[in-house]
């Protein structure tokens, strides 16, 4: 008798797709002649990500047929629910766009190797797995897969000292943090006798022992590092500055989203009473440090790095709210942030040109005249990062603060957090605005005009821009999915009244009721 059933393979279908394509790319690479461009492999891996997305849709369809798919599979290793589905759609999409921009970038940097794409695909496997894994062993391995692949990719421009330095920094500090996370896992295993999130959640209950609390703390440290939340954010600016732009686009969104997913799973296995003040402080610190740090930056990548710290802070505000609205807001925010940030880095990676020469803000002077498309899309992304209405950024922030202000266990503290957040976003508008200002209101300083963007890059830009606007104007579907995800994740059922704007009781929620 074979204990593994077909449905189990459906549960990991996207991962399988990605892995398969990854291997194909890996095998195909030596077949191409050394000096040649690896565009073809890029397209292949693009197909891989699309296949993964398609696979996820298969999962949705399957869920409609029988809800048992959402039971934990592989002996309680993975669980397919609207939460995991959300990230299985989001993360491959991110990778897809990053691959699109890499097609141009690699040629510009004169990097000719297919492993790059394979690594992106394998990394994606890790990330998506993080979102669906419910067993700490698997979570750990998935985490390592995504981390190690990004370590390598960060150092991919081997000739550049900056790139290798960012790789080593990311690697050492990353493994350092991983050790903390592991120690936490060990303790939780000691405290509960299990490493399955579901069992842990069940056995901890409302009043876990000190050991479990310490374990949670250690895991928060490890994951807080991965999501670049203060005070574990210090690595971010250096690593982002050194790493290749498309990879920054990836690692500032994909692994981050995945890590947030894990953080959600882990945190909401215990009651919020213990970690609320902690997350509160982290949120406030991240927003403030991030925004104020960014004020004085002249390097665009570094500036965006600080901004990503700040955005992690906004996300943590939603955590602090620690109610279903908060969870869904956080889930939605990951998507919103991904859309705009990937877009921004797409522009950066195109504009940086060979050897990433042009990354200082002043280099962007007069871009409005030289390449209107680039300037226009970048403007959209900046406005979204500021949080101007009708963009993803605004809706993300709006949901977050809605969560913070809606009735909860700690109303006053959350009101203050909201105020801090809003003031921060006002401060932030200054440095995002700087970029718009130089693009449209200053005359060019760089002698050579930026090279025209290739079709793929244009596609990447336009897709990101569309996503940003879409999430800002008609986020209904995404919002529903995030709400459903929150619903599936949260230990308690959700009173429909408390659902955030745009909630309709649609498919995914239906699943969970079916269970």
């Amino acid at each position: 008798m074979n204990p593994i059933h077909t449905i189990d393979y459906i549960r990991i279908l996207p991962e399988l797709m990605l892995t398969a394509f990854g291997i194909v790319v890996m095998i195909a690479d030596p077949l191409l002649k050394p000096g040649a461009s690896r565009k073809s492999l890029g397209l292949l891996s693009l197909a891989g990500t699309l296949a993964a997305i398609a696979a996820t849709f298969c999962q949705i369809a399957w869920l409609h047929r029988d809800a048992s798919l959402s039971d934990p599979g592989w002996f309680g290793m993975v669980r397919v629910d609207s939460f995991s589905i959300f990230f299985h759609l989001l993360i491959p999409a991110i990778s897809a766009i990053c691959i699109l921009m890499s097609l141009e970038y690699l040629d510009a940097q004169n990097i000719r190797s297919g492993e790059y794409y394979a690594l992106i695909l394998f990394g994606t496997v890790g990330m998506v797995l993080m979102s669906s894994a419910v067993e700490l062993v698997l979570i750990f391995i998935a985490l390592e897969i995504s981390s190690i692949s990004t370590y390598i990719l960060a150092g991919y421009r081997r000739r550049s000292a900056g790139s290798t330095e960012s790789a080593i920094k990311y690697f050492l500090l990353g493994s350092f943090a991983t050790a903390f996370f592991l120690y936490g896992v060990a303790m939780i295993f000691g405290a509960t006798g299990s490493t399955s999130v579901l069992k842990i959640a069940a056995s901890l209950g409302d009043n876990p022992g000190l050991l479990a609390i310490a374990a949670t703390a250690l895991m928060i440290i490890g994951l807080g590092f991965k999501v670049a939340a203060a005070p574990f954010h210090v690595w971010t600016p250096d690593v982002y500055e050194g790493a290749p732009a498309p990879i920054v686009a990836l690692m500032s969104t994909g692994p981050k989203a995945a890590a947030f997913a894990v953080l959600l799973r882990v945190l909401f296995a215990t009651t919020s009473a213990h970690w609320f003040p902690l997350i509160w402080v982290c949120a406030a610190l991240s927003m403030t440090l991030g925004n104020f740090g960014a004020l004085m930056q002249n390097n665009v990548k570094r500036m965006l790095a600080y901004s990503s710290i700040a955005h992690a802070g906004y996300l943590l505000v939603a955590f602090a709210a620690s109610n279903d609205i908060g969870i869904s807001a956080a889930i939605f925010y990951t998507a919103a942030y991904a859309a705009m940030n990937v877009g921004a880095f797409a522009v950066v990676s195109h504009f940086a040109a060979g050897g990433e020469r042009y990354v200082s803000i002043d280099d962007y002077s007069g871009l409005g005249r030289r390449s209107p498309l680039l300037a226009f899309t970048l403007t959209i992304f900046m406005l979204s990062l500021i949080g101007i209405p009708a963009t993803a950024g605004f809706l993300g922030k709006y949901y977050v603060f809605t969560a913070a202000l809606s009735p909860s266990a700690h109303p006053t503290a959350l009101v203050w957090l909201t105020v801090i957040g809003l003031v921060n976003s006002a401060v932030a508008s200054f440095y995002y605005l700087r970029l718009i200002v130089v693009m449209y209101m200053r005359e060019p300083v760089v002698a050579e005009a930026p090279a025209p963007a290739t079709g793929f890059m244009r596609l990447a830009l336009v897709l990101a821009a569309i996503a940003t606007i879409y999430l800002g104007v008609i986020p209904g579907k995404v919002q529903d999915l995030s709400v459903a995800g929150a619903h599936d994740l949260s230990p308690t059922g959700t009173p429909v009244g408390a659902l955030p704007p745009g909630t309709q009781t649609t498919m995914p929620v239906a699943i969970t009721q079916a269970k």
Binding site: P3, I4, I12, E15, T19, G22, I23, M26, P34, W74, F75, M77, V78, S113, E115, Y116, A118, L119, F122, G123, V125, G126, L129, E135, V137, L138, I141, A142, E144, I145, I148, S149, Y151, I152, G155, Y156, R158, R159, A167, G190, G209, L210, L211, A214
Partner: protein, 166 residues
């Protein structure tokens, strides 16, 4: 009784090795002291009745990983490290921080020791390899398979980063 003696002995060797890893200035000596730590840890695993773990501890860690380390040290013929003062933060913030951290954990474990109880020399059926094998290839099949991806990445990474520029 014997158990305690053995634990204390090997435990002390562990700590000594670890400390030596810190104080030694040449990477090779640090590496060797790390090997010492791992070996003694293997023995402690045996005390805990984890034969399989003890075995792979020696084979994988001491055998494979540390050899890799030594190999790299040789390759880059790293000399004795100079005591550069790159980071005052590490000294004045980090060290106290670690002490607090360790202190908290230790205190927690000591106070908790009461209900944590004690450990025994492993029963015969515990920790033996085929039991682990059952677990590994059935319940933990998926992680096991996924590890292959991990290793694939590692290989690729090593190749990509290691190979000479052309």
């Amino acid at each position: 009784m014997l158990h305690q003696v053995l634990f204390i002995v090997f435990g002390l060797i562990c700590v000594a090795g670890a400390i030596n890893l810190l104080v030694q200035r040449h990477p090779i000596s640090s590496a060797l002291s790390l090997v010492v730590v791992m070996a003694s840890l293997a023995l402690i695993y045996l005390l805990l009745g984890a034969e399989f773990v003890a075995a792979i501890q020696l084979i994988v860690y001491a055998g494979a990983i540390m050899v890799l380390f030594v190999f790299v040290i040789m390759l880059l013929n790293a000399g004795a490290e100079e005591r550069s003062r790159g980071s005052r933060v590490a000294l004045f913030l980090g060290v106290p921080g670690v002490i607090v951290l360790a202190g908290t954990v230790a205190w927690l474990l000591i106070t908790g020791s009461g209900h944590l109880g004690s450990v025994t020399i492993g029963a015969s059926d515990f920790g033996e390899t085929h039991a682990i094998a059952r677990l590994l290839f059935r319940d933990f099949l998926l992680p096991f398979e996924v590890t292959s991806v991990l290793i694939l990445i590692a290989i690729m990474g090593a190749v990509v980063l290691g190979k000479k520029e052309n």
